[in-house]
């Protein structure tokens, strides 16, 4: 067992080195428009397979899970959540993230004592100050250590990931302190799987309606999922509990600071044309209205921010 473990470990280490060398965020992002998905063809095929699996297995199971009464459902969810604590805590320590360490430990202690050994999630109630539920994994630890995320990878069954996070997932699985405990007590694979399965089903249940709704409106579901995964991951790694700045940091402003673009937008406005028409044709009652409309829409150069393009209402009329 130890030999195979060290083999896996060596493989993961090698993979890590390879990412660090190959994943150069600067060059790859400019080439791929920030997508960094060189295996897109293969990924899309795996995604198709995952979607089928979801339709025929995970979705029905999640629907069934939702129908269960609260009593077996919630304690099971909480237990599976508590089982994740050792990995989270280990990673929080590796990241030297004091806030996360405090939160994870505090939550764990409260739920183990007042929550009757993790059956009830009392830490999230108002009485204990709504302690946030933080998960740290080795992918995040690697990110904190400065390893770039590398190409986007679609894993069978597990879903969207990146090369770095896949490696992190493997290391988490191998080094999970619980797996040592399982081994000591002779618990087989079927016993070990209960945690991840319950967590997966709970997560799927949580997003049951949203995923279906988003999928129905999407033109390219694969690309949407890829973007959602990346954004969520950035949020998790930035380490802030409620990171309200995520969306603003993500908006690249350079696209809009282009002078030529701004000129084109100003030229697009028909306001000046309307004004000229008014001047040459003199005042007619119908035109007065147009002048009013034009004045209302007149672009006065006020920008919502230097980082953003000028707001221009003339387009609004176009649509109606």
């Amino acid at each position: 067992m130890f030999i195979s473990n060290s083999k896996i470990f060596r493989f993961l280490l090698l993979a890590l080195v390879i990412i660090s060398i190959t994943a150069n965020p600067g060059s790859s992002e400019s080439k791929n428009n920030g997508v960094n998905d060189p295996f897109e063809g293969a990924n899309r095929n795996i995604f198709k397979f995952n979607e089928k699996l979801d339709d025929y297995f995970f979705k029905p199971v999640a629907k069934g899970w939702r129908k269960l009464p609260d009593i077996p459902r919630k304690p099971l969810t909480n237990l599976a959540d508590t089982a994740k604590v050792p990995v989270s805590l280990a990673n929080a320590i590796l990241q030297l993230n004091k806030e996360s360490i405090g939160n994870i430990l505090g939550r764990f202690l409260v739920n183990m004592t007042f929550g009757l050994g993790g059956l009830f999630d009392v830490a999230s109630t108002d009485n204990f100050g709504n302690m946030p539920n933080i998960h740290e994994d080795f992918g995040q630890t690697l990110a904190v250590w400065g390893v770039p995320d590398g190409p986007y990878v679609m894993l069978p069954i597990f879903g969207p990931s990146s090369l770095r996070d896949s490696v992190g997932m493997g290391i988490d699985a191998v080094t999970n302190p619980l797996s040592f405990a399982y081994r000591m007590n002779g618990i087989g694979i079927e016993g070990r799987l209960s945690g991840p399965v319950v967590r997966g089903v709970t997560k799927r249940e949580k997003y049951l309606d949203y995923v279906d709704e988003m999928k129905a409106g999407s033109l390219d579901w694969y690309a949407t999922m890829r973007s959602l995964y990346r954004q969520r991951r950035i949020k998790e790694i930035s380490g802030e509990l409620e990171n309200e700045k995520v969306s603003f940091d993500l908006i690249p402003t350079d696209v809009y600071q282009d002078d030529i673009l701004n000129k084109q937008i100003v030229n697009l406005d028909t306001d000046n044309e309307i004004e000229n028409v008014v001047k040459t044709q003199l005042v007619k009652t119908q035109l007065v209205k147009e002048v009013k409309a034009a004045n209302k829409r007149y672009y006065n150069g006020i920008l919502p921010s230097s980082n953003y393009p000028a707001f221009n209402e003339s387009r609004v009329n176009l649509i109606e």
């Binding site: 709704e213 969520r232 696209v255 980082n307 649509i319």
Partner: protein
């Protein structure tokens, strides 16, 4: 000395005034978003409405409360520059139709509780945090990104749902569609039209 004192007084009063107006605006930005939520419940969510009427009402709210022109430009990213006027107009028009036909049906029968909990100013923007509690389904943390236009109307630029920006997600999707479609942006417009007609 007297001059110095005077300038201090002026500076302090200026700071006070600017702070006061900032405070009222942040409060107003919160009530703007909450009012929008109420309007959605009143005019879009009602199950008795016909689908057509729901779309019309939603379109009205969307065009008034959101900066639809900015959003259209943003989601096209670098492709916007390369388009001529007629294609841009066609895109903005189709994209608005697409938004309306995608989002309006989602609000059918929606009855969530929502509360704007906080508003922060960042640069010239208001970030209004909102908690939404759905009847069934998870509670969501929303952040609305809003600015005041020159007519002193609030306009929404982006909605961030649990750390995911709708604007960024939409752009990522469109970039991929354009890249994989031989007709580029025209192909995207056609794909949107097809989706609307379903």
């Amino acid at each position: 000395m007297y001059k110095l004192l005077n300038s201090f007084v002026i500076i302090f009063s200026l700071i006070f005034i600017s702070n006061a107006s900032a405070d009222t605006n942040t409060e107003e930005s919160k009530s703007f978003v909450e009012k929008l939520g109420k309007e959605v419940i009143e005019t879009v969510s009602d199950e008795r409405l016909s689908d057509n009427q729901r779309r019309t009402n939603f379109r009205y709210l969307y065009l008034n409360a959101f900066d639809n022109f900015y959003i259209s430009r943003f989601v096209l990213g670098r492709y916007w520059k390369r388009l001529d006027k007629s294609v841009r107009e066609e895109f903005v028009k189709t994209f608005n139709d697409y938004i309306v036909s995608t989002y309006a049906p989602k609000f059918k029968g929606w009855r969530g509780e929502f509360k704007a909990v906080d508003a922060l100013i960042e640069k010239n923007f208001y970030n209004v945090k909102m908690n939404v509690i759905n009847k069934d389904g998870p509670a969501l943390k929303l952040i609305w990104k809003i600015y005041l236009d020159k007519n002193k109307n609030f306009k929404i630029l982006d909605v961030n749902i649990d750390g995911v920006s709708m604007l960024v997600t939409q752009r990522a999707e469109f970039m991929s569609v354009i890249k994989n479609n031989p007709n580029g942006v025209i192909g995207l417009i056609e794909a949107m039209k097809k989706k609307i007609s379903i």
